[in-house]
Amino acid sequence: MAWKRSVEYILKPKKRKGIPEGLWSKCLACSRILYTEQLIKNFKVCPKCGYHFRLSAKERLSQLLEDDTFEEMDANLESVDPLKFEDSKKYPQRIKEAQEKTGLKEAVITGEGVIGTYKVAVGFFDFPFLGGSMASVVGEKICRLIEAAGEKKLPLVIVSASGGARMQEGILSLMQMAKTSAALSFYSKKALPYISVLTDPTTGGVSASFAFLADIIIAEQGALIGFAGPRVIEQTVKQKLPDKFQKAEFLLEHGMVDMVVHRKNLKQVLLKIFKLFYIKSVSSIRQDPVVGVERKNSNTNKG
């Protein structure tokens, strides 16, 4: 595969639903009014209280990957309607609306890209796309990503943000948990690092499959992470949930994640890990950002 100069996924701060627009934004946690440009420069973290705004897949991608290094895989995969599912809306209609809203075809973008000087296989979930839910396409894309990482001997990074399995594809959605986890069981035999980044929120079928199967699990500060949603739990146990329940810090305390990371440090942490795993650098990518072909050549047979 050749490197592609794709500008499609480069973040240009623009208005999008759920994301602050205009000159000023309001922090969802402390209600302070923030200067939008400053907020974006600060990785969309409130400079006053540290609240991490949710990022779309494209925003996350542009924060982590070097410009023009992303090459998307399986962009042609699209959902069908295996159950002919219809509640107040038909499933294909919901997909279409989500596509229009997000500019994405599905709830995850997968591909290869460069973080710092390391080439990685990477997946970014998009929560605005039907809650980042996993159905056939998401499962298939994650599977193919894992397989490609294994074949090309690339480290794997998946940034999750998902409410879980997508109801509209019924049992097929549930089975994507099995499929992605099975793919990982083969990848993990190759001794390549898989780093899972859990962001707000990561629950249900995604947390109970590939997201929790990584060699290193990083939780983003303040993220809600768990199996069942807090409301379901509250209804079941009929008691008040503990303070900070299911928050990243709570999971760290209970031994469920390796670390809690502030968004502004995420890239540095990943780079440190790659270095310690002896992942080879893509040589001089920063000094020589134009020559795509050379980048590709310097990259063959690496491991």
Binding site: I171, L174, M177, A182, A228
Partner: protein, 319 residues
């Protein structure tokens, strides 16, 4: 949980009652009512056929949850010999919502694991209505690793409303426990055969149901989201569970069509609780046949057969 007779079964039960009455009056009072009885018996059979052959997904769910339905330990007793239950996850405690142990299936030592519901309130408190905590999944994994060590094939029985959504379950890593099982079962070096005997409730069911072959009992169901939960999410109204059950495609027939399961094991008309022995016999036949094939498979093939089965699941377009 208190219903013994399901609503849609009432016409059958009425007729059966009438037959009983006729029978007792003919013996008490010496009338010859044999013809009437015979007619009614035929009518009952017709009615049964009519009702159970056209059963809806929601009615199936009700049978799958029937309080008299045989559970894992019942089937173990009916199908296997010399069962020794093994307890605990060696880390925290013994989760009784999942049981497991070693037993003999027709001279073949197997490791058998399954969700276990309680028969009454007291037992259900102990068994948490078959809703496992992380320790249940970890116990199951411990037993599967044990099976691997001694080359015993694994049988899992699925019957749970779901993994327990509790505070402790989250604190101790419910998601991680289930995920780990999915991954480890995918590459287990011994055959795994799974039978959904009642309710296949979402991730909690999936957590012990990665197999070379997956079967469903005729009236069992398997879903990503219970009909009630689905209904309340979609319509904020639990009463539309009937529609939700139909929409989601939760029956054996649906799952067979999508390549999720490999076969449907027949039950006695109306459900296995009407004749547990008969259903158990059908399960046993299926398991024996599966192991005859799987136990002679080279390990590599066994693992690739299992992986390919899951790898294929999913529907999408590639335009």
């Amino acid at each position: 949980m208190h219903i013994k007779e399901l609503e849609f079964e009432k016409p059958i039960i009425e007729l059966e009652k009438r037959i009983q009455e006729l029978k007792s009056s003919s013996s008490d009072e010496g009338f010859d009512l044999s013809k009437e009885i015979k007619d009614l018996e035929e009518k009952v059979n017709d009615k049964k056929m009519e009702i159970f052959r056209n059963i809806t997904a929601w009615q199936r769910t009700q049978i799958a949850r029937h309080p008299k339905r045989p559970y894992t330990l019942d089937y173990i007793g009916l199908i296997m010999e010399d069962f020794i239950e093994l307890h605990g996850d060696r880390t925290f405690y013994d989760d009784l919502a999942i049981v497991g142990g070693i037993a003999s299936l027709d001279e073949r030592t197997v490791v058998v694991i399954g969700h276990q519901k309680g028969r009454d309130t007291k037992e259900n408190l102990k068994r948490n209505f078959g809703m496992a905590n992380p320790e249940g999944y970890r116990k199951a994994l411990r037993l599967m690793k044990f099976a691997e060590k001694f080359s015993f094939p694994v049988i899992t029985f699925i019957d749970t409303p779901g993994a327990y959504p509790g505070i402790g379950a989250e604190e101790r890593g419910q998601a991680c426990a289930i995920a780990t099982n999915l991954k480890e079962m995918a590459s287990l070096t011994v055959p795994i055969v799974t039978v959904v005997i009642g309710e296949g409730g979402s991730g909690g069911a999936l957590g012990i149901s990665i197999g070379n072959y997956i079967y469903m009992l005729e009236y069992s169901v398997y879903y990503v989201c219970s009909p009630e939960a689905c209904s309340s999410i979609l319509w904020r109204d639990v009463s539309k569970a009937t529609i939700a059950a139909e929409l989601q495609g939760i029956t054996g027939k649906d799952l067979l069509k999508f390549g999720v399961i490999d076969g449907i094991i027949p039950e006695t008309l109306g459900g296995s609780h009407k004749n547990p022995e008969e259903t158990a016999k059908n399960i046993k036949t299926t398991l024996k046949k599966a192991f005859e094939e799987l136990c002679s498979m080279p390990t590599e093939k066994l693992i690739s057969q299992r992986y390919e089965k899951y790898r294929k699941i999913g529907e999408y377009s590639t335009i």
